[in-house]
């Protein structure tokens, strides 16, 4: 079974540019999550999709971040325009639908974003 995949693995962009990160969850997983880790800090929740619907986007930093999940499959996270403080590692995770909430989230390798 293929795991969660993320593309690209690294991205270096200039301040003010746009970047789009992609996540392909494990097939059949309804839940998809985005997290971000700024260097030395904790991994922080950004948002949660259930199929194609945003269930919780309370962790999104501001309106420069836009997440979509087309047809309930893969998801994209766009940052436009990028700022220096957006640098970090962006993780995607997925989990199957389980009564009472997820027991485990399966994580991708992350995308390391550097904004210069």
């Amino acid at each position: 079974e293929a795991g969660v995949t993320q593309f690209p693995s690294h991205s270096v962009i200039e301040k003010g540019q746009t970047v789009t990160l992609r996540c392909d969850p494990i097939s059949g997983h309804d839940n998809l999550y985005w997290y971000r880790r700024v260097m030395g800090k904790e991994i922080k929740f950004l948002l949660h999709f259930v199929k194609e619907s945003k269930q919780d986007e309370s962790g999104m930093p501001n309106n420069r971040f836009l997440a979509e999940r087309t047809g309930g499959t893969y998801s994209t996270l766009k940052v436009q325009p990028a700022e220096l403080e957006d640098s970090g590692v962006y993780f995607c995770a997925s989990s199957p639908k389980v009564a009472g909430g997820p027991r485990e989230q399966f994580f991708g390798p992350g995308t390391r974003l550097t904004v210069l």
Binding site: E42, I43, F45, H48, A93, R103, E104
Partner: protein, 111 residues
């Protein structure tokens, strides 16, 4: 509100020595507890989890953790580490659909 504290940001330990990575959490309700490991250039991999039942949880690669409700702790232990255990370890609690992570502990095993 839920929060996770990993007090040790870096832990160096000699090969074949025991190790304990500490994790304390703050929550007013029951949560699920997890330890994840991130090897260099890889994603987060689940080491072990506590959902209910026995407070001593065994995971992969010889790791185990003990849930202590009174001390709100979930420390990770291994009796004898190997070079291949060098990695970053994250403690997490889940509440609802969210995971709350600690800042991570970088374990370095010295030959």
């Amino acid at each position: 509100a839920q929060s996770v504290t990993q007090l040790d940001s870096q832990v160096p330990v000699f090969e074949e020595a025991p190790v304990e990575l500490r994790c304390n959490y703050s929550s007013s309700v029951s949560v699920y507890l997890f330890w994840y490991v991130q090897y260099p250039n890889q994603g987060l991999q689940l080491l072990l989890k506590y959902l209910s039942g026995s407070t001593l949880v065994k995971g992969i690669n010889g790791f185990e953790a003990e849930f202590n409700k009174s001390q709100t702790s979930f420390h990770l232990r291994k009796p004898s580490v190997h070079i291949s255990d060098t990695a970053e370890y994250f403690c997490a609690v889940s509440f609802g659909n969210q995971f709350y992570f600690g800042t991570g502990t970088s374990l370095t095993v010295i030959p």
